[in-house]
Symmetry: D2
């Protein structure tokens, strides 16, 4: 007799969707990938020719609703483009499926809130947004040191670098335990790699600063590309010290010493940095389903960050400071 496994489908077979399938197959023994779904012709073709998917007996769907009707399906991992995250999550819930939805639920705050609200109507379903950094060993170790061990006294300053994101993608809730309330923020950006896009008001590098009521500050660099790889760093400064995560990004433990000096490579992209965090995230989601436990992250986690990201985006576009009153109301 073998253990019960959660039958799961992945919708969206882009760069990350394929990786989520791989994670589920190779790292999540209590999950069984029974279906994938995409309506993109090149992804359909790719999946049809995938020997491994055949070995694992994975059914390919081109229609999301049909996929939701797959026999005995328990759960869905939504990994499509952001514009359908909300509708696909809502549909899955209606069909009684557990959902792990990539962030953000929506770039529209109201639509995201609708999903949060709707989920409350399905108390038996596990619905979770995919904040993968939250599952990374280093971020968790840092959180323990900062919040439990109080290694750095009272934290008051946070610096982050994001790569391969726009400012509205800021995907980690703020670190501070006391649930900080934003007071004002400002941002500016520049378009260095694709100046032809200047008319679209798009930027590929942006710097933002957020001031909170009570004297805390967070500042960000969002960069779409970095020549040397995926160099994402977080630093939290407190009254008695600083904790840095990923201050020295590197791909592995190899250093080459030659006439140029000493060189180590940097992980090329998000996946190499967070591959293991995705496996932890998926296992904890599957365990929540099997063991009837709460999901590790509440669905509404991203809403406050989304509000800040939106205010930063407004500042970036208008050049003006965005402000909130002490009750969290945008002024």
């Amino acid at each position: 007799m073998e253990q019960k496994r959660v039958k799961i489908a992945v919708v969206g077979l882009g760069r990350m969707g394929k990786r989520h399938v791989h994670t589920l197959l190779y790292r999540v023994p209590f999950a069984q990938v029974v279906a994938v779904c995409t309506n993109m012709p090149h992804e359909i073709e790719w999946a049809q020719q995938n020997e491994e998917y055949k070995d694992f007996g994975i059914t390919l769907y081109e229609d999301y609703d049909k996929m939701l009707g797959h026999s005995d399906l328990d759960a869905v991992w939504v990994s499509t483009s952001t514009d359908v995250h909300a509708s696909q999550t809502l549909a899955a819930m209606k069909h009684g499926k557990h959902v792990l939805c990539e962030k953000p639920l929506s770039t529209d705050l109201d639509e995201a809130q609708k999903v949060v609200d709707a989920a409350k109507g399905y108390p038996d379903l596990k619905v979770m947004a995919g904040f993968s950094r939250r599952f990374d060993d280093s971020y968790r170790d840092a959180a323990k040191k900062i919040l439990e061990d109080r290694t750095i006294g009272k934290p008051f300053l946070e610096r982050r670098i994001f790569v391969d994101c726009a400012i509205h993608d800021i995907d980690l809730t703020l670190w501070y335990p006391e649930d900080p309330s934003p007071k004002s923020c400002w941002a500016t950006g520049t378009l260095q790699h694709h100046p032809e896009l200047e008319m679209s008001k798009d930027v590929d590098n942006a710097v933002g600063v957020v001031e909170f009521w009570g004297g805390k500050i967070a500042y960000f660099l969002c960069s779409r590309t970095q020549a040397h790889g995926h160099d994402v760093c977080t630093e939290v400064t407190g009254t008695e010290g600083k904790v840095a995560i990923n201050g020295l990004p590197r791909d592995n433990n190899v250093v080459v010493c030659d006439k140029r000096g000493m060189t180590h490579e940097v992980q090329p992209e998000y996946w190499q940095r967070f591959e293991h965090a995705f496996a932890t995230e998926a296992n904890e989601f599957i365990t929540a389903i099997l063991k009837h436990k709460p999901v590790p992250l509440p669905l509404e986690l991203g809403q406050k960050v989304m509000q800040i990201a939106r205010a930063l985006q407004d500042a970036l576009w208008t050049g003006e400071v965005s402000r909130w009153d002490e009750h969290g109301v945008r002024l």
Copy 2:
């Protein structure tokens, strides 16, 4: 319809045996752990109470021969103490099982050779010795840089640190491509942490140097314990540079900055450093079985290293230089 999976049993439930079961369950989707075996009372008790083993439907055996008779068993991972590696591997082969045996096959060179010879009589069986470092991303990247890209010119010097090993455990074949032939070696050791064992001629820290015909040199530090964690380093120097693997050991990407300075933690033991390498090793072994491919490492890989390790051990005990002639014969 689901894919075929290799039914495997793990014999030995010590510290590493338990981890091998975990690796197979969580990281190797084409393997199915059907049985474990141990005759150690505390390991038996531990396994009997293990909920996860029940969830996965794993049968516990106290008798190795009975385990070999488990229905439909395909393969065995031998993770017992070194003295039974050879006999258990031989028995598994006789029963037609594929074998992944932890190194060394034996501390007795002749007995190890018997296993190597016997395996030739079972050309359909996949029999492999577990040199896990060979599957580590960093070691593989370094091997590519040194042997394929020729990043450092002609390699001639190798330095290694081993932790939690005696000198006879030296478990990596030498790096050089040209199949180096040892000329002489010497070693000395000291007993720092358990001086009461001095009568047994045991040591907990040893330094060894091997000179090869043709001008290459390898030198080693074997240390049973290190206060700061599992600090294993390999450096290969060539005529045009040096490659270092694990020169800066660390547990994760977190650095704490406080009044003492900047501190990062070090992985506490072998497992944390090589957890992912074990998963790669197990997957490649299982794939070799399923796809009828050669095992990634030949069984005889360790024999030459064992000869050198034995010569170093002799030097350590006698204080004399061990020597070989140009044909590889010990003098």
Copy 3:
């Protein structure tokens, strides 16, 4: 026959003034310290008891004007508090003395400009502001890589950390070669270590962002204290890479590995980090005098930075964005 040496006096014997005397005595062979000056009782007492000053034959003055009348005096190093930098520099020039004045010339931009203008009336005098970072080997190496070798393509983003400074102390001209023109800036700060000073609108940690016409961005952290030492970092990002200076601050080459992990100490303050830069600065100033060469840095270097620092300070105090038009006029 021995070489001619520049007779120099140091005014101000605070923490840095004492160090400047030491630098001149031990690192600048073509300078001869003939006098020091202070009107602070505890500094006077300290200097009177200083055996080394006696050994070197240094005269102590309590009155700056009398010091300027010291026989054969060639030059003055102004190291007093900022409020008298301008008046002491002007007085020294009137007495025909070369001047190395610590930055800033004044916190009042008009007063600073008066010194710059007055210096033009003394073309034979070497008058220089002390931007010591400009003389640091690492900053110079980075400048060469960025500006001459074009290692990182076109630079567009700069991050700096300043320690032990207020935002008006920002003491390095911006790095970009094309003489960037500021467009807007914003800043916010917090008072963490001395909250009792909140009424004075003072802060001990501030973050500022400056946007330039043409798409460049600089952002700063100014921190009065850091628990782990003097951790000042500069990063310049370009279209093809990044250069980091002092990304890994450390006091020396020692690493301690123990049960806490691996730890290195951080230089405790500005002096340990820039001791050698001060020696280079002083030697280049003295050489300019002796060899009748231009001073290595023009006196007006700091004026544009001062304008930006003032605008950041305004933003910090008002919460509003400071702006400039394309001709550099504050709006």
Copy 4:
């Protein structure tokens, strides 16, 4: 009135001799370089054309004895080739001059001992051998941590890398406080960069191991060249930790991040690594003269190390283990 300065001459104007003159001129205010001496035609020509030497009023001698007769000369820094170190030091002492002699005093142990013995006949002269690493901030900090703070418990293992040296140049006394007594040693070497020299029994890379009575071990790599720069590392392991000096060699604080990864340069040679140590050494030597204090390092410091170096050299040439009895007598 100015302070008394020690009038010093430097004999030998090779790569290091020129640097010693520079150190004395720029870093040692209580020294006055009055003369230099060399009989090498290209060094004579170079010195004759040196403007700086003229500025400082330095007299050039081609004859060492005449140099010793320079009016009012107080001290000599012997920086010639090793074969004349002993005779020049003896001659200087006979003329009543203080001497700082580069190590080794001689490659001949008996000749070196003669100098040590002779120096005892001149109790008023300061005679010192130049073990410059002993004056390096990092080595001193490590010594304090190991020997005073007992940071790593009881030290028992030492690893060193030497660059640009032969095994007989090993120039640091062993670190251990308890005056270790060697028991046995062995060494082997290889000739990688100049194989044509093989007949001379010379090597350019050598590994040596020394075992001490009482269970301590030291092992060395001596390398004449390293592709990536001057990478000298020392590690001392104790029962409770490890201290590493120069584990991460680097030229300055600059890191370049580009598509190859993250790279820092390594100091090209001994001078860049130890420039400041030479200044400290020279200042402490001059202070010993002026203040009538003992020299910071006793002249006989190098004798025991020389004995070990000689035994390692014997092992390298013969392939046999060198041994000592418990009284320090070579067997």
